[in-house]
């Protein structure tokens, strides 16, 4: 596979566990040996270099803060190894700790900090030597939900402030969508799609990406013909629609993705369905329906006062919004 990561970007590797994203990160950091291919940093090949010769630092999943050193000593460690004189590295450590709002805890040991504080120390430690690329291996996964959400905003702010390229590994799509400039979706050791969060969510190129990111209805569809960037597809039940063509998808049996929130109830809707169950989700309502051929189909409605909720068993017609139908490669 080939992957280009733009300078100064917040880049995310997103995929289920076991997809090879951590291995890729460890290859960049220098903890795995490259068996074939090459890795280059700003045009310089780095594959043969040991980790201590790469201008790359890592925030580890479990932080790996040195338990026998204070917070300040941890943050100074990289600079000390680079031979930076003590007054300078001390000043730099203070600046880094100020950036993560921990300046007053410099003298503590890692064991005396909370999980969120340890996470910030790990970030300050990795940023202190001024790497050109910062690697983050699921750094938020050990935090609770509230803290995780706060850290997302903060990480993004720090990335923009420092202008360092962040390569962020996660299996959490919400994390990926909310922070990234660009996302690479990985599966089974391969890159499935690279794009902005909007592109990944709204224009997934294949079934894996459509299914992995967010919730979707994967509906079998017969492609009749493709011309001028538009494909004509026939859905089960005989409804024929036009939708944007997908690269490499010709006439034949394929799937389309229809996001549940891009569907509304309308008497003039294109699809006929029967409501089986209504699930109350607070801000939303989820209708579990079945299409004419018996395939399940989810519809998400905003929980507004005016919405008339159909009863289970009711026959409804579903309207697909403009651009809601995406043709997928397999």
């Amino acid at each position: 596979m080939t992957l280009d990561i733009a300078d100064r970007a917040f880049f995310t590797l997103l995929g289920p566990s076991g997809c090879g994203k951590t291995t890729l990160l460890r290859l960049i950091a220098g903890f795995e040996d490259l068996t074939a291919g090459e890795i280059a940093l700003f045009g310089q090949p780095i594959a043969g270099l040991p980790p201590d010769r790469r201008p790359v630092n890592t925030v580890f999943q479990n932080y790996a803060l040195f338990p026998h050193m204070t917070v300040a000593q941890n943050v100074e460690f990289g600079l000390r190894m680079k031979g930076v004189p003590e007054p300078q590295r001390r000043a730099r450590a203070v600046r880094m700790l100020e950036m993560v709002h921990l300046a007053d805890l410099a003298g503590r040991l890692p064991a005396e900090l909370s999980g969120g504080q340890q996470q910030r120390v790990a970030l300050a430690r990795a940023l202190a030597p001024g790497p050109r690329v910062l690697l983050l291996d699921e750094p938020l996964s050990a935090l609770d939900l509230k803290l995780r959400q706060a850290m997302r905003v903060e990480l993004k702010a720090i990335q923009e402030e420092t202008g360092i390229t962040f390569v962020f590994v996660t299996h959490d799509q919400e994390e990926a969508l909310s922070m990234s400039d660009s996302i690479a979706v990985m599966s089974a050791g391969r890159i499935q799609q690279v794009g902005t969060p909007r592109e990944i969510y709204e224009a997934p190129v294949n079934r894996f990406v459509a299914d992995f990111i967010g919730e979707t209805n994967l509906v079998p569809a017969e492609v009749e013909r493709v011309e001028c960037g538009t494909a004509r597809v026939v859905l089960p039940g005989g409804t024929a629609l036009a939708c944007p063509a997908a690269p490499g998808v010709g006439p034949g049996a394929h799937h389309v993705s229809i996001r549940p929130e891009r569907v509304t109830l309308s008497p003039a809707g294109e699809l006929a369905a029967t409501v089986e169950r209504v699930v109350y989700l607070g801000s939303d309502l989820q209708l579990m329906t079945r299409l004419a051929d018996g395939a399940p189909f989810a519809v998400r409605l905003q929980n507004a006062a005016r919405v008339a909720v159909p009863a289970p068993g009711a026959a409804v017609r579903l309207h697909l919004e403009e651009g809601a139908v995406r043709l997928l490669a397999d």
Partner: protein, 266 residues
């Protein structure tokens, strides 16, 4: 639910166990303060046998034996700890390699072979290669059987230290040696100290093997005590025993404390 964990009489057994283990030690300690020359009749509290240990007629013999014991224990424990530390790093951090199982068995061999067998084998070996019995033969034998005692706490500690710390150090521009010296070694420290102390006690305690390879005229504290006891138990032996007992307890407590402190910074 406490019910299924509770068995009547088990607490009494545990108490009996402690009494059995400590009674002889306490009795000897008590009698070491006996003023009477007859070791059975109680003649009141006195320090006289402790004074006797350091100034009495046998003071020279026991002093020399104590010196030998301390030299041997210090050198043997140091060497065994160095060897065991290197071996533990290879065994725990070396990944899978051919001969790992055999090496593990080899390191623990001195624990499996009966002491008497080690003693006989060492005596025959030193005789065959023509090494005259003395300080050196004792030292060689002690280093060998101390290795597993030093190895166990070090390896246990090392397998509790995740490789992530060394990876982080390397990521932060530490060379392999710096990662070892500045990160792994300080974290491993309590295990190494603990291993050294245990090896030291084991060396200090050994009688059977030392007795075989020491040769005439050479005495360690245990062989000197044994020789003296064979003539009959005299009160000064009780005083020496009490001193050794306290030394052992002090060392084990120290080793235990070091490990406990170490666990906090893990």
């Amino acid at each position: 639910m406490r019910g299924v964990r509770h068995y009547p009489g088990f607490g009494a057994a545990a108490a009996a166990c402690l009494v059995l283990l400590y009674a002889p030690l306490i009795v000897v300690t008590a009698y070491s303060f006996n003023a009477s020359t007859s070791i059975t009749a109680w003649g009141g509290f006195s320090w006289r046998w402790y004074v006797d240990v350091f100034t009495g007629p046998e003071a020279g013999r026991f002093g020399l034996a104590a010196r030998n014991s301390l030299i041997i224990a210090s050198v043997a424990a140091t060497l065994a700890t160095l060897i065991a530390t290197a071996a533990a790093v290879a065994m725990i951090r070396g990944g899978a390699f051919r001969g790992r199982t055999v090496t593990y068995a080899l390191i623990n061999l001195p624990l499996l072979v009966p002491e008497m067998v080690i003693a006989v084998a060492s005596l025959i070996f030193f005789t065959l290669i023509g090494l005259p019995p003395g300080l050196l033969t004792i030292l060689i034998a002690h280093v060998t059987f101390c290795i597993p005692f030093a190895y166990l706490p070090i390896a246990a500690r090392l397998s509790g230290i995740e490789p992530g710390f060394e990876a982080a150090a390397r990521d932060l521009y530490a060379s392999r040696w710096q990662a070892f010296r500045l990160v792994l070694l300080p974290l491993l420290g309590p295990g190494i100290v603990s291993g050294f102390l245990l090896a030291f006690i084991i060396s200090l305690d050994d009688f059977i093997i030392t007795n075989f390879v020491k040769g005439a005229g050479m005495e360690t504290l245990p062989t000197a005590i044994y020789g003296s006891v064979k003539q009959g138990i005299k009160p000064n032996i009780m005083a020496i025993s009490t001193l050794m007992l306290l030394t052992s307890i002090a060392f084990v407590t120290l080793s235990y404390a070091v490990n406990r402190i170490g666990q906090k910074t893990r």
